[in-house]
Symmetry: C2
Subunit: 208 residues, 2 copies
């Protein structure tokens, strides 16, 4: 299937656009475009407009750099949240994941990525300086580092930790251990080892 | 993950639109939208516009019902193709598949689906009447039925065959047999059985 002849230039354009998305090949792209062609005019136009509007109008919160419809996002502007605890995350998906747990009532700081020399992402590409600035300006008591438990995540954690060492704040990180529902037999040895070293008093796990 | 709080209404709209597409769940939709957000403005606006344009401007060829930018598609208006042979297919993807083989030089007729009572698709929902009309008007010698080898495909084949029985034309269907590169051991018995019944003279397979 080297030669792909589309019967229409308009169709080809739309397929090309879909095929640029991650994880969507040309065959899937064609399937999606043909699906859209079968939908009502209004539906497809709404789709197209939602993308144009998204790009034209969306903002990033000036405080936490999360995606927002307003200058300051709904989390940062919510007075019932604790402004003294900042949870540092990689991207907005992580904000959503943590929000879904309903276990955190502080504010966030979205880095926009993690330090990854392989991908050419250094500390200056991330919102680390603005994090330090926030800590200097606002009354922050604790910073929770909630990054991926990968090599890159660990590097970023350590970089931020060093930056914050002299400030008078608590820096914590997410507990690592055996996932709930996991069988020990299938847990990798590093996770299992850490969860042994960092074992918690049994009574602390009750009633949670 | 029951409660999904998006930090932005614009983001949520775009995710909703993507999640309507077949095979794309809400998590993938979010991933795609965040990918688009990282792209240049122009890129995303081109994407949105390609969809709007597609729906507003695309036409169906008046002759073969394939998707086209013009009233009569590029295949139907190509004088170097044999106008006396019509290949009947389900949809435009099948046209593209057959075109890619470079083995067919006639015209097409796109039914727009196959007879499927389970999905509520009857003969009147398809371009069968217009096929019969074409055969009456144009000088057609042969109709090749190139539909899926499913129950629905067979039903549609038979329905069209009965409609064309009285006309003085040849009605043929695609050869069915063992796929090239397949091992006999793994070929299903119906295909293998048919390929035995419809065996061809060995010399006919040489030089192809």
């Amino acid at each position: 299937m080297n030669i792909e002849k589309y019967p229409s230039r308009l169709l080809e354009n739309a397929v090309n656009e879909f095929a640029k998305l991650p994880g969507i090949g040309r065959k899937s792209a064609l399937r999606l475009v043909l699906h859209l062609l079968r939908q009502d005019n209004d539906e497809v136009i709404a789709f197209g407009n939602s993308l144009i509007q998204l790009k034209n109008e969306i903002k990033h919160c000036k405080k936490c750099h999360n995606i927002s419809d307003t200058e300051i996002c709904s989390i940062c502007s919510n007075n019932s949240r604790h402004g003294s605890i900042i949870c540092v995350v990689e991207n907005i998906r992580d904000v959503m994941s943590i929000e879904n747990t309903l276990q955190f009532n502080g504010l966030y700081h979205v880095l926009g990525g993690i330090i990854s020399p392989m991908d050419g992402i250094g500390p200056s590409d991330l919102e680390i300086d603005s994090l330090v600035e926030r800590i200097e300006k606002e009354e922050i008591v604790e910073v929770i580092l909630a990054l991926s438990t990968t090599m890159e995540g660990d590097t970023t954690n350590f970089y931020i930790f060093r930056k914050l060492k002299e400030k008078d704040i608590k820096v914590s990180t997410l507990a690592r251990g055996v996932s709930i529902g996991d069988e020990l037999e299938y847990t990798d040895e590093i996770t299992l080892g850490r969860s042994l070293v960092n074992r918690v008093a049994y009574e602390n796990t009750l009633g949670k």
